[in-house]
């Protein structure tokens, strides 16, 4: 019984990381109706900036380094949107998917070239402290990750539902044209969504680094596709959905990895993805379409 609890706790910790990254996908999808396949790789860049550049090369203290890398990553996300996605605003959806795949390839290969193919160890910035309860073990890492994630998610909810920018975000998500007509600067809102989404992704990637103790250039794809699954499973564009999806996926993966097979634990994620898309393409918390194809 205690091991189930243990795995569940691990799963929840992992899950909140997925949830944060999933929120990043949802932010962008919410304003553009497009799945940014480069999201995971931008997040990866954030983690590398933190470890290698800011802490490593420039020797900044870890807290400051984290802050700076988040800001830089947000900036990078906004720039990518400006350079690559803005010209494609009127293009068919597939074009944006393809270009984001291209950006993903550029970023991950670029990271391999610059930082090397191997895993990059992450210095332990959180002291090792163990808490026991109910027969399960929880490290200070876990706790901090869970707390930070919680704070961020609550903050996001507040932002979306209690601030002017939040109203603007929801308006653009509902109808870009109408929002524009109503005087909302849709470009600014979109950039904000990209920036915030990339920032959340970077937080997630940094947490991954702390949780596993290392990062690697292709982690964007691995974490990205799982987080992406979480977003889709929960209902993409949907904040509670992304959170639910992330947690669900984390726990499922953790339990499956422990009790079914460790090699196939990723297959759980992908199978969930395929199954959900087949039967509820709008996610668990989304709505189902009906009847006539309105295309």
């Amino acid at each position: 019984m205690s091991t189930v609890l243990q795995h569940t706790i691990n799963g929840l910790t992992l899950g909140t990381i997925y949830a944060l990254m999933a929120l990043g996908y949802s932010m962008v999808y919410g304003v553009l109706y497009f799945i940014n396949f480069a999201h995971g790789d931008v997040a990866m860049v954030g983690a590398y900036l933190w470890v290698v550049v800011l802490m490593g090369k420039m020797g900044l203290p870890s807290g400051l380094a984290i802050l700076l890398s988040l800001i830089l990553t947000a900036f990078i996300g906004i720039m990518i949107d400006r350079i690559v996605y803005v010209p494609l605003r009127r293009a068919p959806r597939l074009a944006m998917i393809i270009s984001s795949l291209g950006v993903s390839m550029i970023l991950s290969t670029g990271a391999e070239v610059v930082f090397g193919v191997f895993q990059q160890p992450v210095p332990a910035i959180i002291p090792n402290k163990i808490f026991r309860f109910g027969g399960a073990v929880m490290n200070l890492h876990h706790l901090i990750i869970l707390l930070v994630s919680l704070v961020l998610m609550v903050g996001l909810q507040l932002l979306v539902y209690r601030t002017k920018m939040g109203v603007a975000l929801r308006a653009v998500s509902f109808s870009r044209e109408t929002a524009g007509v109503m005087g909302i600067d849709t470009d600014k809102v979109t950039s904000f969504a990209f920036g915030l989404g990339s920032l959340l992704g970077a937080v997630a990637a940094i947490m991954v680094g702390i949780y596993y103790g290392s990062i690697y250039p292709t982690m964007g794809a691995t974490i990205g596709i799982k987080a992406f699954t979480a977003a889709v499973v929960g209902g993409i564009g949907n904040i509670p959905g992304a959170m639910l999806g992330g947690l669900l996926l984390g726990v499922l993966e953790s339990l499956a990895g422990a009790y079914i097979s460790s090699g196939y634990r990723n297959a759980i994620a992908f199978s969930a993805l395929v199954i959900v898309l087949l039967f509820r393409p709008f996610g668990l918390l989304g709505s189902t379409g009906r009847g006539v194809d309105r295309a």
């Binding site: 074009a95 993805l273 395929v274």
Partner: protein, 325 residues
């Protein structure tokens, strides 16, 4: 066919057939072989992507399935290569059937994601099902193809891949100009109207997947016998994306578009002697630039170039099945 076209065909055929006789350098032949393979792969993807309009981001996975099928058949069952070509094709097509089924219900980027998820699942099976695939180590020692007890060698495989590429182009050409091709284009352009006109959209979507994955599987089988080694890393998502890029870059929905795309993306890294590390970066860059450029109107310039090239050679599309998106 006009006599001018006959002449052009003859010239092109002679040229292609004569390459191994003229070129001594085995490295160039090797590049040529891969070029031909990518031509076949991008053309077959074109059936699903360009003609039927279904985004499939997992084509390299079917290449891999064909390769593994052939490898296993050769190693465990000692089947000869020519049987394995068919076996690889059929196995890939069966899997294509499975992937095609969701395409009936799921559209657009959702479908793209389903194909990616599927690709990852297959890859995980390749890595984890040790008993069958011997895992990440891969399967070495696949017997190469022989004719009259003599091994093919580079030259033999060149002709084999030339045959496969030619066959794929032939099939794509014939299908696209037929009743079936029109039905696929109708499904692509407007599903509802297609249904109202008697086109069984479900059947044709699956059909497109099956036909296209069959040829990918055949390529895979040939690949297995050529390289004599397969592993999960031989066929990655990046490869699928590259093949997709070849189709899009060259112009989906035209016959020669993918050929051009394959030529550019397969040859450019070789010609520029890039380190393999940069290869995918180049592909990514080309993808992004191509997509943006097309959107900005270089599109028409590109189309006209492709159409012009198509008119020079006999299999050119007479502008009837224009590309979309």
């Amino acid at each position: 066919m006009t006599s001018k076209r006959w002449q052009a065909t003859a010239l092109a055929a002679a040229g292609l057939l004569g390459v191994p006789l003229v070129v001594g350098n085995p490295y160039i032949l090797h590049v040529g072989i891969f070029l031909l393979m990518y031509v076949a792969l991008s053309s077959s993807l074109n059936i699903v992507l360009g003609l039927a309009g279904q985004p499939s981001l997992a084509h390299a996975t079917f290449l891999g399935v064909g390769a593994y099928a052939a490898a296993l058949a050769a190693l465990r069952l000692h089947w000869p290569y020519w049987v394995n070509l068919g076996f690889g094709g059929v196995t890939a097509a069966l899997l294509g059937l499975i992937v095609g089924l969701p395409s009936v219900r799921v559209r657009g980027h959702h479908l793209a994601i389903v194909t990616i998820g599927f690709a990852q699942i297959v890859r995980l099976i390749e890595i984890n099902w040790d008993r069958l695939t011997s895992g990440p180590m891969g399967l070495p020692g696949i017997p190469t193809a022989t004719i009259a007890s003599r091994p093919f060698g580079r030259i033999g495989f060149y002709y084999l891949f030339l045959l496969i590429a030619g066959a794929t182009l032939f099939v794509v050409n014939r299908i696209s100009r037929s009743r079936i091709g029109r039905a696929l284009a109708a499904v692509r352009d407007d599903e509802m109207a297609a249904e109202a006109l008697g086109v069984d959209t479900r059947y044709y979507k699956v059909y497109a997947f099956v036909i296209s994955t069959f040829w990918a599987g055949v390529c895979g089988a040939a690949y297995a016998h050529y390289m004599t080694f397969v592993s999960p890393d031989s066929f990655t998502q990046a490869d699928s994306t590259t093949i997709l890029c070849m189709v899009i870059l060259g112009g989906s929905g035209t016959l020669f578009g993918p050929v051009i795309g394959a030529s550019v993306l397969a040859l450019a890294p070789e010609l520029l002697r890039f380190a393999s590390g940069y290869r995918y970066m180049l592909v990514g860059l080309v993808m992004v630039v191509a997509v943006i450029a097309r959107q900005s109107g270089f599109d028409r310039l590109w189309k006209r170039t492709a159409a012009m090239l198509g008119r020079l050679l006999p299999f050119g599309l007479r502008g009837r099945l224009h590309r979309n998106g």
